[in-house]
């Protein structure tokens, strides 16, 4: 029969592991988001190069800038939502670990 200290220590480890897994998932997601935006910028630059000699090129430059900003902002929202969701899940998991402890601590 584990002692209360051992139960608490084990639960603490579980919570830390939970946080660590979710943090690494978030990190991977941030990297993917940054790569996605970088690819988008390259694609816009390529499209812009096709428009160089066309009428309205200045408008095209502004449109490309706007698209890049909208894309990056959209990604920021996706990542922020993921962050919120992760925090909520982490809090839920931590609470359920704590709740499981209560009967064991008698």
């Amino acid at each position: 029969m584990p002692s209360k200290e051992e139960i608490l220590e084990e639960a603490g480890k579980q919570i830390l592991m939970e946080i660590s897994i979710r943090a690494s998932e978030l990190g991977a997601s941030f990297d993917a988001g940054a790569e996605d935006v970088a690819r988008f910028i390259s694609a816009k630059a390529a499209e812009l190069s096709l428009a160089v000699d066309q009428p309205g090129f200045n408008e095209a430059v502004i449109a490309a800038r706007d698209s890049v900003l909208l894309k990056a902002a959209g990604r920021a929202v996706v990542e922020a939502d993921r962050w919120d969701e992760t925090l909520k899940e982490t809090a839920r998991s931590s609470l359920s670990i704590v709740a499981r402890l209560i009967p064991m601590l008698g």
Binding site: E47, D66, A73, T90
Partner: protein, 148 residues
């Protein structure tokens, strides 16, 4: 061990393990809301000038008798976006967007027909309208922190 020590032990454990996570959620749990207000709205505001220009060209392609009403819709929509008011965007602007988008697309076609812009330029202008659409939809989708 005195009986009052047990709940104290549990409270201490929650303080070191469970509570920080909850505290983080309650203080930073609205990252999505902040990203919408502090990143997405400014980006939409900046892009709004170009999309508005396209939509106003679209208005000019309409029969004269309905131009003014459509111009008002365009002005009203972009006014709300630039104002950045959350309720205004969610409840009012979204209702105008379908019409404004049609006008912007029509305006880009008109610019292309009149050779004001070339094909590749028109494609970039159209993409901006689509990107604006996606941004607006991302804005009105509530963040997980706002749902609960």
């Amino acid at each position: 061990m005195p009986s009052f020590v047990r709940p104290l032990g549990l409270v201490f454990f929650m303080a070191i393990a469970g509570v920080p996570a909850i505290t983080v959620v309650s203080t930073s749990g609205c990252a999505g809301k902040a990203a919408r207000e502090e990143v997405l709205v400014p980006a939409m505001r900046l892009a709004s000038y170009g999309v508005e220009d396209d939509a106003l060209v679209g208005v000019e392609t309409l029969p004269l008798e309905i131009q003014e009403a459509n111009r008002l819709i365009v002005k009203k929509f972009f006014g709300i976006i630039r104002d950045g008011d959350d309720a205004g965007i969610r409840l009012e602007a979204i209702g105008y967007w379908g019409r404004v988008r049609e006008l912007a697309d029509t305006g880009i076609e008109a610019k292309l027909e009149d050779e004001v812009v070339g094909e590749s330029v028109a494609k970039l202008l159209s993409d901006r309208v689509s990107d604006f659409d996606r941004a607006l939809r991302a804005y009105i989708t509530r963040s997980p922190a706002m749902v609960d």
